[in-house]
Subunit: 932 residues, 2 copies
């Protein structure tokens, strides 16, 4: 790399100097992959090694598309970097030098050259795009010597010095870390620029001339000297290695780590570094830069979509500083380049068979592609695009199923604004302004102006908040995640706010330029209207409307079609896409999907969403209503079996009525009913005032209530007298519940001529004998009721596997149990020894320290809890080969857990009614992964 | 069985009539084993099938000893009986008839014969002798016809009618269940007898003549008619099958079940039934009956020991109604029979190679042996006999080791009365009376007169009680178990009280005839002294002294020899037997024994008892003393890392001093130290008054304390923020503890020139990463301290396996852990999902229902918890083949659990210091079982 040497003789040895490297095999490994001029060492399939960006660039080169030459340093270097005390593999320097030489040859320019210098962009690039990581350093390679060469070669000294100014600012911010060090409210570089403009009496950056910019560069460097305590690096080689190091360091910034946690990516993936020859969108009126999508990432509509800025550099678009023009306008500015872009985007979508997110720059009329990757999209767009592409025969149904993240379906169920109210608000002039419809849906909440407040209010006040920012940055991620909606004054459809909001499924209106936001006063003004922190605001992310005050919501198209028989909604594109996708999913999946439902209305929702049964009906939830809790309390206070039986006799008809409704709703489908589970003290009050009131109501002395409460008190109620242990102590409770179930089942069978299929589930079993004793009561009761009612109902008796011991002795238990249902909430609690109620004190820390990849209560722990489940399945089948296996813990609605359930051969998962569509899709994806 | 048919034509078909028996193989099986006249179908090794009694009888016959002929119905019939709705195998009746025919032939008498009737005794006989089961029905076969035959054949009508009277009473009580139905205070049979004596103006039973007895039989039958609503069965065959059924039924009486629970025998063992020809010890002045032991069952002294009654039936001795004479007196009464008995007892001990418990009857000068089994004995006797027999070359050392129940060693450590105090009490005339020294040791407690009160007071008042009874019966077992000592007014060394007390290891003085006990007034009188319920009483079970008031205790011989350098004690027989047995055990065992000790004094006890290290040193126990808890509270209240480190700096020297003492005591042995484990709220007060006081002491506002207490509150602290989770949140705590350990270890090494071996144990690990993070802190601290102190100490870092997940992922954890120590308390809690603190509400019920064979917190659950342990051992060795494995839960001191630990290949067990001898013996037994 002679150019470098020439420009910087004083440079320190590069950080890649040979070191005592234990891994000598690393010497021969390829860490650097070149691309450019119609060929590439990498390719589109190499995302793990090259990152998404690197793989996309390589693939575009292979397709012969116009890509500036460059190279990618693989993610393995990142992994090595962290595993070896932040050192590089010893061969890296040599490989980078070779790749640089190749670039210089192709570009016909030399890095650090004083005549015609090659400038570089350096970007991070993980497997998936990740906010919080170092984005880009542009114009790298400039110093006081090379800037003159650029001025001559571009024949545009102002452009050269502007590039130099931008470079020093950018490099200081992201590589030298000044951005992290300075406060939000004061940016010394911005201040210097402002000062310069004021001095010259101009308002626009573009009004500053070459000499102004020269002075500004000097001032910027002085800022660096003062703040960093050292000179800005002059040597291009130092600049390059500094930028590479900064990319790797940025992999572990707090923001990046938070993002990975939110999205469940592991830290060991690492990032690649992409080094590319600069092309310039800011070389005058025939230059431009932009970002586009092959389809609309908000709605999924099949329209070429995007935006651009004339005479600008790429980061201007993404950073949201200037609001760009819609892509269609480009035809008027640069028709030839626009036509070429149109051809390229079609080719890329077809080639990659997915909606693409593209970055481009037009340098003096010539189009260059800077990035190509599958585009992020809203849940709406994901479903729409996937089903559209099947109809277009671009992808198969199976691919469509794989493309949509199950969680994304949630968005389609969220409410939208009530049409009438919204119309009224419009007519009343409550629409303050309109921004870009960057994240669809309806959101309504209290205005907050910073991420911390958003997080804090959402956590402590449990109230919806709308985060209002001039623009967002990666520091705001936690706040964005906590907010219900995001509103920005600046930035386009591809700004940070828009990208992140869409990925999070948040409602977002971006680039609402009419807003005047004052962070200090905590106000936002639109014309004469001024709203302050805490005021209500409504955002329509589908229309871009910003509406003052609260606005009522109404069901989404999917909900309207499913639950309100809305004929128009049923013809809507979103509903049809949703319906089709789930139908295809049903055809593929082998895992059944049931719902956890305790009441007839919940059962109705579950059925409408396609649940094929109830996997968990908690009988105790029924006891908390009205007169039921009175009878329950009487039962608890009973001092003899006879008294208890009298109280239970009062509960019987109430329970029977509950089951009646559920059986009718679920006619022909199995309904798994769990016998009483929670400790009895949960049914008694604990505040003195309530105790006194109850004593009065029940006409018993308060002292007796106190004594009972004291007697039932437990140090660790989770591990106490609950579950089947209650049924063992009070067999008459189990008998009453069984009677209520069978009487209701017989009644429904006689009334509707459809036989319900009750599956009675005994909780918290740790030994076969417990189950056997309880099962006997259930079976004896069934026999008695069938004889009384003169009808027989098919039923099963089984157990929850929710204690490690139950899993371990499953062979014994399956002798009595006709089915197992994994109660993974409790199983996770006991396997880890972590109470769900108390774990919140340290689980967040555990995730930060990467002790937990995810909260084990949200995503099933395959190594521990999962291993017990495997043991239970294997052992259970030894004594009962055809045993029915299901899961009814919260994990039954989590896609990754569903995949595991499919893998170990469960028959069904059961989840909350609203998650049934997610489970159906996840089950289909699981079936497809299993096929692979 | 023609005799039967003759006597009872009207008899119902016997209960063994052929039934729809599914098990047709049962038809051919032998259920009945005959014996008598020098031959037997069974033998001494068949205890499981024939019960202890049946096997002993068969074996005596094979040895040619004089045993009345008879047969045993096997325990399999009992098992069949309960598995088949209380029916018998269909072939049983035929087999019983064949055996009866054989007996009749040998006896030259016929069952039910009107001339010379064969009478029978029917007894239960399980594998081990068991109070609570039906003991004996004697003289079976008598009715109004056969009694006349007996009168003629015996030439003693009074004897015949007395036998008939006894039979009706006994049969009504135990077979017809009248004993269970009547109250303690009123026995209609006793009343009738009393009335008869009064009517005749006599005081002794023996003063009643033939006609009185005839009238009494009629009266007894009338009582039966009235109370049972049916006639007393006249048919001998009915009588026989009734008695057989009663034996089987008695297997599941509450008393029998309680006894099994106390002694951990399973219900499925079942009992056998022994039917034997009657011989009569009550045929006049040349007849007698007695019970004897080949050695003293209290002390183990090699002396023929026992007692007898002239002209009596066997049950008179055992029931304790008449106080019998010492066996040595028999030489004066019946010298020939005594000589024969001496020969027989020697032969049987030698043949069976163990101390024997014998029952005999002398009928008109001829000796008959009625029972032979290994004798129950106290812990003292067990150790003494076992070691003596080794010296006598009767058994090997291995047999001696197997003979002694490890728990029995406990008795040898219990205190005895202070010699001086006891002497003073004697001189002061406080010795109220002297009874039989039936259970050695010293006991002091509050007098109670019934078992229920004993149980209740012991449970609720936590105070020692002395159970004082005229005589005890199986109903009293729970109360005897709860009492510290037992005193009876009647009964000998082989009475119920004496037998049960010895087996339970309770102090017992039996047959203190001078006592006048009044159950109603709740008083006991000796001469003019009257003590009432609640008064203090002291019992010396070794001398038989009953002493009024409290008496101080002093160490036992073993304790005196070990801990007080008492030269006399060191020469004592008990100490020497104890020492020898444990030395032999040490030579056999492969499992190491360590102790759980938190303080130097505990470590000293452990070492003295032979612990080879500390398996668990809990650092938090140290924090509860004096100024340590202040510093600890300061640490907890700290609001920043800096504040916390200041408080920890105060704790450091205090902790170091603790470890210093322990390391010095344990020089050269490993000391496993667990880092902080309990949740922090345990260190803060919870009562308002204490909170106020602490706030004042610490000079902080009470509100701040309240806030902290509230913040630390947990719903399920057992599953909360504790164990290594604290060390993850506050790494500085772990660092301080590690520093204290290593500084102390270095100091001790420099001072004593013996290097301690610390093993640092991280608790509650569920993931490898937790351990890795904590281990890193420990290792970094070690390196730093070694450099400062200029000395290096060998140490290990390991973890407790106390969560199911840790066991399941042991392969991962062992990559970091150098040892595993099973924390089976917590592991049992989480595997079962039962909190130790709350489980007491239902565990007793679970044991009653036989859901649990034993409390899983006392005896390791092999199927569940044990399976996890096996998994952990296997998986751990995959990644670290030489990993050190131990156990430090309470189970480490339980013999059955120790056997399991040996089986799965642990390196050591760790238990409380006082249980170290028990663990050493249990470990040796485990090694011997494994060899088999």
């Amino acid at each position: 790399m002679p150019a470098t040497k020439r420009a910087s003789r004083r440079s320190k040895p590069a950080p890649s100097r040979p070191s005592k490297d234990k891994k000598s095999t690393a010497q021969k490994k390829r860490f650097v992959f070149s691309f450019g001029d119609g060929r590439a060492e990498g390719g589109g399939a190499m995302k793990e090694l090259l990152g998404g960006k690197g793989a996309g660039l390589a693939e575009m080169c292979r397709l012969g598309l116009p890509v500036p030459s460059g190279f990618t340093i693989s993610t393995e270097v990142c992994t090595y970097f962290y595993a070896n005390g932040r050192r590089y593999p010893s061969d890296l320097k040599r490989q980078v030098e070779l790749a640089m030489a190749r670039m210089e040859k192709e570009a016909g320019k030399r890095f650090g050259d004083s005549q015609n210098p090659l400038l570089l962009s350096v970007r991070s690039g993980a497997r998936v795009s990740m906010p919080g990581m170092m984005d880009t350093v542009l114009n790298l390679g400039l110093n006081d010597t090379t800037v003159e060469g650029l001025a001559v070669a571009s024949n545009n000294p102002r452009f050269a010095w502007d590039a130099y100014r931008r470079f020093v600012h950018m490099y200081a911010d992201v590589v030298l870390g000044l951005k992290g060090a300075r406060t939000e409210s004061f940016d010394p570089f911005a201040q210097a620029l402002e000062d310069a403009k004021q001095e010259r009496g101009v308002t626009q950056d573009t009004d500053l001339d070459e000499n102004d910019l020269k002075a500004l560069v000097a001032k910027y460097k002085a800022i660096v000297r003062e703040r960093c305590g050292r000179e800005f690096p002059d040597s291009p080689e130092d600049q390059l290695w500094g930028a590479i190091g900064a990319v790797f360091e940025s992999w572990n910034t707090e923001r990046a780590v938070v993002y990975r946690q939110l999205n469940h990516f592991p830290g060991h993936w690492g990032t690649a570094v992409n080094v590319m020859a600069m092309v310039f969108g800011n070389l005058g009126a025939t230059s431009a830069t932009g970002v586009c999508f092959t389809r609309d990432p908000s709605t999924g509509a099949k329209e070429f979509y995007g935006e651009f800025l004339m005479n600008a550099q790429g980061e201007d678009v993404v950073a949201g500083i200037r609001t760009p023009l819609p892509i269609a306008e480009l035809v008027h500015e640069l028709p030839k380049a626009f036509k070429e872009l149109g051809r390229v985007q079609k080719l890329l979508e077809k080639h990659n068979r997915d909606m693409q997110d593209l970055e481009f720059t037009i340098e003096r009329g010539k189009l260059y592609m800077l990035q190509c990757r599958s585009g992020k999209r809203t849940g709406f767009a994901a479903v729409k695009i996937a089903t559209d592409m099947v109809r277009e025969k671009l992808i198969t149904r199976e691919e469509a199923i794989r493309r949509v993240q199950p969680e994304a379906l949630n968005q389609l169920l969220q409410p939208i604004f009530d049409f009438a109210e919204q119309k009224a608000a419009r007519e009343a002039g409550r629409v303050l302004t309109k921004g870009l419809n960057a994240g669809p849906g309806a959101a309504c909440g209290h205005i907050v102006f910073d991420a911390e407040t958003a997080e804090h209010w959402a956590a402590t006040q449990k109230e919806a908040v709308i985060l209002v920012r001039i623009e967002t940055s990666p520091e705001d991620i936690r706040g964005m995640s906590a907010a219900s909606g995001i509103l920005t004054a600046r930035g386009g459809m591809t700004s940070h706010a828009a990208l992140v909001a869409r990925q999070m499924g948040k409602v977002c209106v971006a680039g609402a330029g009419a807003l005047e936001i004052d962070y200090v006063a905590k106000t936002m003004k639109v014309g004469s209207t001024c709203l302050k922190e805490g005021d209500w605001l409504s955002l329509d992310g589908s229309t871009g409307e910003v509406i003052g005050g609260k606005l009522a919501t109404q069901p989404s198209e999917v909900m309207a079609a499913l639950f309100h028989g809305d004929a128009k909604a049923k013809k809507g594109g979103t509903y049809r896409a949703f319906r089709d996708l789930l139908e295809w999913a049903d055809a593929v999946r082998t895992l059944g999907v049931r719902a956890n439902a305790d009441q007839p209305d919940q059962a109705h929702v579950a059925r409408t969403f396609g649940a094929a049964g109830i996997g968990l009906c908690r009988t105790e939830h029924m006891f908390f209503e009205g007169s039921k809790i009175d009878a329950m309390r009487e039962m608890i206070l009973a001092e003899s079996k006879a008294e208890r039986e009298r109280a239970l006799a009062k509960l019987l008809p109430l329970q029977r009525a509950d089951f009646d409704g559920i059986f009718e709703e679920m006619a022909g489908f199995p309904v798994t009913i769990r016998s009483l589970d929670p400790p009895l003290h949960e049914f008694l009050p604990h505040e003195e005032e309530q105790i006194q009131a109850l004593a009065k109501d029940m006409k018993v002395p308060a002292a007796r209530l106190h004594a009972k409460i004291e007697q039932l008190k437990e140090l660790n109620p989770m591990l106490g007298h609950r579950g089947c242990r209650l049924g063992i102590t009070y067999p008459e409770i189990t008998a009453m519940q069984a009677r209520a179930i069978f009487e209701a089942a017989c009644d429904v069978a006689l009334r509707t001529k459809k036989k319900p299929i009750p599956e009675i589930m005994i909780p918290l079993v740790a030994t076969e004998k417990e189950l056997a004793l309880q099962a006997q009561i259930v079976r004896d009761t069934a026999t008695a009721v069938f004889a009384e009612k003169k009808v027989t109902i098919p039923y099963l008796v089984g157990t929850m596997i929710e204690l490690p011991r139950a899993a371990l002795i499953a062979e014994d238990i399956a002798r009595t149990a006709e089915f197992f249902s994994f109660g993974t909430n409790d199983l996770t609690q006991t396997t880890y020894g972590i109470s769900r109620d108390d774990g919140s004190k340290f689980i967040p820390q555990y995730i930060e320290h990467e002790i937990f990849a995810r909260d084990p209560f949200a995503a099933l722990d395959r190594e521990g809890v999962g291993r017990l489940m495997r043991i239970a399945c294997t052992e259970g089948k030894k004594s009962r080969p055809g045993i029915k296996l299901g899961i009814c813990g919260e994990h039954g609605g989590d896609p990754s857990s569903i995949e595991f359930c499919n893998e170990i051969g469960l028959n069904y998962v059961s989840c909350s009614p609203l998650r049934v569509p997610i489970a159906r899709l996840a089950a289909a994806q699981a079936a497809l992964s299993a096929k692979k």
